[in-house]
């Protein structure tokens, strides 16, 4: 029973793979990783900094002790994932494509702030979210590389 279920999933997956060019799928997946890592990283970092309080910045040693807060440490790890996945994406996609598209993270961060930190989203902020999303859609529809041979 389970085996047939797995088979079904697998054939569905390969069906998707055939329809989408491999390069494009790779771009979409890695873009999602970049966005998720930046949102989760910043969220975890600010959550941790709220716990430790602003007093830690009074001494240089405070910066170090802040790193030992588990949330801050998790945030730093996620920001590292963010940097590395963005670098991987840049190995085949244009910078002028990657930056606007991954800025969808700003929108998710604002929504996460509303959902989990009970922050209020003003009309101006909603307008900003709308502008960013339209920018993302506009750039996301262009080809992800314009510099000719991929990898050069």
């Amino acid at each position: 029973m389970q085996a047939t279920k797995k088979e079904g999933v697998r054939s569905q997956e390969s069906g998707v793979r055939i329809r989408l060019p491999v390069l494009h799928l790779k771009t979409v997946v890695l873009t999602l990783v970049v966005i998720f890592a930046s949102v989760a990283g910043n969220f975890s970092l600010s959550w941790g900094m709220r716990r430790t309080g602003p007093g830690v910045f009074e001494s240089p040693l405070g910066y170090i002790t802040a790193l030992f807060d588990p949330w801050v440490a998790l945030g730093v790890c996620l920001l590292l994932v963010w940097m590395l996945s963005q670098m991987a994406l840049l190995s085949w996609a244009d910078l002028s494509y990657v930056l606007p598209v991954t800025s969808a993270g700003y929108v998710l961060a604002a929504i996460a702030g509303r959902l989990f930190l009970q922050e209020r989203i003003s009309t101006g902020r909603w307008t900003g979210i709308l502008l960013i999303m339209s920018g993302v859609v506009l750039v996301g529809r262009t080809a992800h590389s314009t510099t000719g041979e991929p990898g050069r």
Partner: protein, 120 residues
């Protein structure tokens, strides 16, 4: 002082991204995502001088941002960093020789304006 910090943040972020794009394009497209291959890639990148410089720029930007938000409002800090979208698109055209279509210009400007509005 705040505007100096903003200038440092925008310059460091822009430099970081341009350097990363140059280094990664020289490296070429990554095809192998198995853990072993990624580990090898990491060691290779850690020895790459351009990547090391980009990491330095990135930490300059990070600490300048922390310093800025410790004295200025987030509603001043966030829109100030939005300027980097426009600068980076210009540099992508002239340094990285990317073809910036009208859609990309419009997209970069929309995102920059949107980020600026987020602070309201």
């Amino acid at each position: 002082m705040n505007w100096l910090l903003v200038a440092i943040i925008v310059a460091a972020t822009t430099t970081k991204d341009i350097l990363q794009a140059i280094a990664m394009r020289r490296h070429g497209e990554i095809h192998d995502f198995r853990p072993g291959a990624l580990g090898k890639l990491l060691r290779l990148l850690a020895r790459n001088r351009i990547i090391v410089m980009s990491v330095v720029c990135s930490s300059v930007a990070f600490f300048a941002f922390l310093r800025l938000v410790s004295t200025a409002d987030l509603s001043f800090a966030v829109p100030a960093t939005a300027a980097s979208y426009v600068f980076e698109t210009i540099l992508a055209k002239y340094v990285l020789k990317e073809r910036i279509t009208a859609a990309r210009w419009a997209g970069a400007c929309l995102v920059a304006c949107g980020v600026a509005l987020l602070s309201l």
